[in-house]
Symmetry: D2
Subunit: 341 residues, 4 copies
């Protein structure tokens, strides 16, 4: 905490009580008595003051509010690592000049379909193949993914196309098996606050793609990245995929302002997933263009050869020819903003 | 209303009651009895069924829900006017190939400042000058605008630069005076649901720029346009300026997906105001680029020669040199998407 | 503004620039140099510093953020008027021990219906009759109210029942006529930010019921009350009616926590309108009970003798027998919390 | 899915394509051709149609929208189990006439504090002791809980006071150890969508308290309950704890309307946690009263003997004397609504 606002009418004893507490933590207090309020500026290494200590100070009767100036994340902050982090995966650099496109079906359904899609997206210029072997579904009665069999299919798709694999892990107990097959481990939006899972992927040596939670603030999202990084895995990329708002015309509201904000706050690469954000294939291309124009380092796009037969999220999948058109369109936008696809 | 879902266990009498009501409005009922529910498909010109009639049917005991298929707006809908509407203002076409940039200070503060800003934005390539003579402010103690004196300053700026003027009206009693000076009348976000004001600007012969309300759905926004158009003024353009969400890193959340959705739903031109959406000048340029990439027909941008002395919203204003840089950057993006600036 | 946080790495010149600006406004600066940031505590009567001045300071390059400690509203604040305000309307006291119930149809449709409803709600124990003669409707094609004819019907209902009348005004030009008939003038949710209308009702001598905007924060709501009060009309009561969130199971989300918060922040009476908040008659009674338990000073309830024939909002109206049941239930809850109905 | 809306201008072939697909699933189609749209009512046991099949139909080109009438949850629905479920825990019945109060510290910090708090809340009339041994914290640098040692302390508190224990599990790997100590297993808001954890607690024989996710709709929340129940554990209670909205005056917005809605939709008991919802101790008592008035079956309340020394969430904890006052106040409200505490 950095600024402590005291309630109107506090006594000198109240002030001393707070100051003593700060001094007990090795900090100094700079007291400003205003006409209505007294404010305490906290001097010293306040970054070492925990969230718990902050809450405890808030609970002191004489304290009206505590305002932190120092960001609660450290390893994820731009200050920690001035240059942008570039994550290298099988020769593909995420966070560099080239915008990386991760494409594929929502769920891995069967070998034939996945291999066919993988071939098509590679042809069109995608750099990664994506697909879920473990699927978080709102209904227990929906298809939950093929599990390890799905991972094997993805591995075969990688072998055939040369495209590295991005795939999701949902359970700390599956981190080992997923990291055996995946090139990039995805943490889905519904697990952004699954702290145990974050710690577990913090222990592996694979890059992590961390999706933003449905109602996560940018600060909370960076704190989730900090969880992973605090265990030693600094290869984290952030993926904006829409937030939950009152608007129902799209599945979620794609928060593209998050891209330039993240570029200021953190050194980690930023990916955008317009498919999940809008939930309708016919809006994916313009939002892919806008993502690139806003400064994204990569895109995650759902592609399916036969959306009507997809076991999950068919309505937001591009068919291969639309995906090719998208690649052409973002190539032009990327050039206009000094990037390439 | 188009589909009426009845509650489980309704009797034949209940069904007859609803059918009779529909027939009384000149409509026919197609009844589907399912295993759990009975559903009534309403056949006939349901677009003539009012919101009131819909609510009345919802209030019938046997009715669980009413779902409208037909859109409640007509004049604003794409079906009404297949081609996009192009609004011409002193030779500048809004909704055509060229992206129009409206730039200027938030509030009209004094003659010298406004004339200076107007000159700078014209030089940099803006096509309209914007500025508020009547200012909606959250505090009654804040600067409320210069009123008619402000309008005169804007008129002088137009004379000096040749740029048409966009300025806001807040009160039905001011519509006459504002439309005497303005080339485009702006309805601000806080007045999108000020129905009397909408009707009043529906009576004038000047184009209207209708900003989206802070928490307005796209459907409500189009209904607000419909209010204006229902009085005969079809020259309406829509301006996305951010919606209110839980995220506090930006003042509002710019909902860029609204751009391609509007392009499907309506024939009206779509403008984006990134300055008010993000509330921070350092995010304006990337969001301006993204707006153009998403398909916007125009941009509204705050520019101030000395943001520190601005009487309103200085923190989100670009200085003239940054504005020039923005123009260069969006010119490149516009070319990449087949438009021009 | 009360606390100014400077960016990391500011120079002494930067600090002097800010200090000079403050001194120019008659304020003093208390500078705390921390290890990472410099913070300026502003001393003096910062309540006189306007929102505009605050924004201007935010626009200074060296400034990272400005945090206000002093509330921006004064007349509406609890500090201004330690005891709760009691508004007296024809012998009924709003804000005292007795909880006042305002009941009636959404819209005034015709004489017979309104007189019938007025009689029924009076019998059941309501203290005010409510009903709209001017109706804000999302569609221009919906029933817009009877206008002055509706006001006359309300006046007749008052005469017959002795119940004072609460009715809405939507347009500054109608304030005169509405205040001639109404005992309490209502500002609807969609007009909470219609500042010109607020100023206009600030000039009349009638109490005002100010509904919370769909996405208004509590602070903005109190600022809207401040608008009215700043013109001399201190008889303002606040009406919580649900806010817009992502949840679609209810029309809006009733924010009952607002009741005890308002009791801390302001001296103005607090009313709750559960009918508009939930939008379904079958949830009105439990939410009316909860409102009373949370500390509301009054309730606004929609009642209709024949919801199926109502021209507006039939699906959320209680029939008279349900309204009577509600009155019985809230009477018990009121007694439990030391109030009466 | 139950109603399929086709796009304007579909051909008979398009219609046949959809009908054939439905027939392939053993369903029948009732076709209504309107003047603008064709609508297909789906007849048969549509509850067996999965979310996946629904998405696949949405992906058909000719389909504009699919509307489900049947609720996606079954075991959790009121229809499945007409009477309310009563969960019995060591002689305490949750969901019956008596309102159960679960009280204690946010986190289990040390033996002495927990035993002291447990004694105080028991004296004041609480029926359960709550406290976290595994704590989900937004920062990896915050106190994460004592783990099994914390569970042992809770068990000792139970032994000393006779109060059954409610405590959280965050990780599927901890379900075994937590269910060995706990009487009620809590799933926190951040884990409501942790589907693997839900399935795991679905396998144990202990009651589960399922908190609502920060941005979960009521439907999604019931689907999370369905996950647990689908594995055989039907002893689920739902706990409303505030949702995330734009309002910042409270930590979250307590959605009390959810209580009567849940009473209609599901047979499961409903608990309210006002402490986490409002995040400020001084609002807990009025919101506890309102929760009881709205129809809650129980309350979860944070209590701490010394909030200033609490390691987590001190600012929202009641001191024991305030908790006693709360118990007195809710006892009166409970009596007013025909319940008891």
């Amino acid at each position: 905490m950095d600024i402590i606002v005291l309630k109107p009418g506090v006594t000198d004893d109240d002030i001393r009580h707070v100051v003593k507490r700060l001094e007990g933590k090795g900090l100094k207090a700079n007291i400003s008595k205003g006409t209505e309020r007294t404010i305490i500026g906290v001097i010293g290494d306040t970054s070492k003051v925990s969230e718990d200590e902050e809450n405890a100070i808030k609970a002191i009767d004489a304290v009206e509010n505590v305002m932190r100036i120092i960001k609660p994340y450290k390893l994820a902050s731009r200050e920690f690592h001035g240059d942008g982090t570039v994550i290298e995966v099988k020769g593909k650099r995420i966070g560099g000049k080239k915008i990386q496109v991760m494409a594929g079906p929502c769920a891995v359904e069967n070998r034939t379909v996945v291999l066919s899609i993988a071939g098509k997206v590679r042809e069109a210029g995608a750099s990664f193949i994506r697909g879920g072997a473990f699927k978080p579904r709102t209904s227990p009665y929906s298809f939950q993914g093929l599990g390890e069999e799905g991972l094997e299919i993805l591995a075969e798709a990688r072998e055939k196309t040369g495209l590295p694999v991005v795939t999701e892990v949902m359970d700390p107990r599956d981190v080992e098996v997923v990291s055996r097959y995946a090139d990039v481990i995805q943490i889905g939006a519904r697990n952004m606050h699954n702290f145990r899972l974050l710690l577990e992927v913090g222990e592996v040596k694979k890059p992590v793609l961390l999706k933003r939670g449905l109602s996560a603030t940018i600060k909370e999202w960076l704190m989730a990245a900090e969880y992973i990084m605090s265990r030693g895995n600094h290869q984290v990329m952030l993926c904006e995929r829409g937030i939950r708002t009152f608007e129902t015309a799209t599945r979620n509201t794609l928060d593209l302002s998050a891209v330039p904000i993240l570029k200021q706050l953190t050194h980690l690469p930023v990916i955008v997933d317009p498919s999940h954000a809008v939930g309708r294939w016919d809006l994916v291309i313009p939002m892919a263009r806008a993502s690139v124009a806003a400064g994204a380092d990569g895109l995650m796009i759902e592609v399916h050869t036969n959306p009507e037969e997809a076991l999950s999220d068919g309505e937001q999948s591009l068919k291969p020819d639309m995906f090719r058109q998208m690649m052409d369109e973002i190539r032009a936008v990327a050039a206009a903003v000094g990037r390439e696809v």
